[in-house]
Amino acid sequence: MIDASSPYLWLLIILAFIATDIWRVLGVLLANRISPESLLMKWINAVAYAMVCGVMMLVVVHPSGLVASSSLMARLPAFAVTIGLMLWRGNTLLAVSSGALTFFCLDLIISP
């Protein structure tokens, strides 16, 4: 076990803080220079939505962290149930909770 209170870890945390907030600061500076109605603004928004959906689909298909220990055979059907219910009923809460329940049940059956 690595020493939890090492100054090195605190240095890493500060570095991670800088690595993230650099983007936030740049975002603010950029946003104040682009016209809200411009095509560039639309493009930035489109890229942002594409990126966020990309990140989230990676959790479904190639996850890291806690979800990594589950099977794709649990995650994909859960995703399909969520999409299906969303298209059919248009109810987010119903769709997401049913998807999560599907994942839980399949994960329970599949995982060793």
Partner: protein
């Protein structure tokens, strides 16, 4: 998905036509939205992070500081897992920067959604407020746009983002101890709700163009990941977003050319409509 039913935050019907702008009502709406899936989902995401952080050898203080200072899940997970793997500081810095790069685009979008420029909010104040921006908040703002009056969006942002931050800290704190109590399978399922929820929220966004951009990015990223790893997010975002914007960009160019050549001012809107349909 053409329907814009909103079962998530039930509002009085008239709210659809008259956007809310009374500060108390807006703050109440934000609080009510927060108490549903967004707050719960974020809470458990942070519980999940605390589990990873503890496993990586973080103390409670370090885990809390990471959540508070980074406040962006992919970067937090990258920090904890690379620390565990013994990666160098430079590698960790790059990985976190790459994982949270989308933050810049989200901030641009949020500054626009909230209307900081219209309000003439000082840059430093904008930067401080944007530190509290999370994916959940940004998605919520996109969905709520139109239901809340433009001038009240700042109130909604503050009433949503700051309590969400507090919930995140609570999640990290409790997660540190909760991990032993909650069965891992259950925790996994709860953590898995966040991507499902965010994806469904994008599906609900009123601007069709952005919904399509989401689909493009969501399809491209998993396909690219086996080939280029973490860069898949960046490439899928830029390629997906550009692909969806392409017809728009071409149309805009064509309209501009037509205008320059022979279209008189009065006919402009007519031609623009034709251009939009093509």
């Amino acid at each position: 998905m053409g329907q814009d039913h909103d079962h998530l935050s039930p509002l009085p019907q008239e709210a659809r036509f008259a956007p809310l702008d009374e500060p108390k009502q807006v703050a109440y709406l934000a609080f009510r939205d927060l108490c549903q899936v967004p707050g719960l989902g974020l809470f458990f995401s942070m519980v999940g992070f605390a589990a990873i952080a503890r496993e990586a050898g973080f103390g409670l203080k370090e885990a809390l500081a990471t959540s508070a200072l980074v406040w962006g899940m992919p970067g937090q997970v990258a920090l904890a897992s690379l620390y565990l793997a013994g990666a160098s500081a430079a590698v960790i810095f790059m990985a976190v920067a790459l994982a949270n790069m989308r933050m810049m685009l989200m901030v641009v979008s949020t500054v626009d959604l909230v209307g900081f420029r219209r309000h003439g909010t000082a840059i430093i104040k904008q930067i401080i407020l944007m530190h509290f921006l999370a994916i959940t908040t940004w998605i919520q703002l996109s969905v709520v746009r139109g239901k809340v009056a433009d001038r009240a969006m700042v109130i909604y942002f503050i009433a949503f983002a700051l309590p969400l931050f507090a919930i995140g800290m609570l999640g990290t704190l409790l997660g540190f101890y909760l991990v032993d109590l909650v069965p891992p399978l259950l925790l996994k399922a709860i953590v898995f709700t966040t991507p499902l929820y965010i994806l469904m929220m994008v599906a609900k966004i009123r601007v069709q163009l952005f919904r399509y951009a989401g689909v493009a990015g969501g399809v491209l990223a998993p396909l690219l990941y086996p080939v280029i790893g973490e860069w898949a997010i960046l490439l899928a975002g830029v390629a997906g977003g550009t692909l969806i914007m392409l017809p728009r960009l071409i149309t805009a160019r064509r309209v501009r050319q037509k205008r320059q050549h022979r279209v008189p001012r009065s006919d402009r809107s007519n031609h623009q409509n034709k251009g939009d349909q093509s």
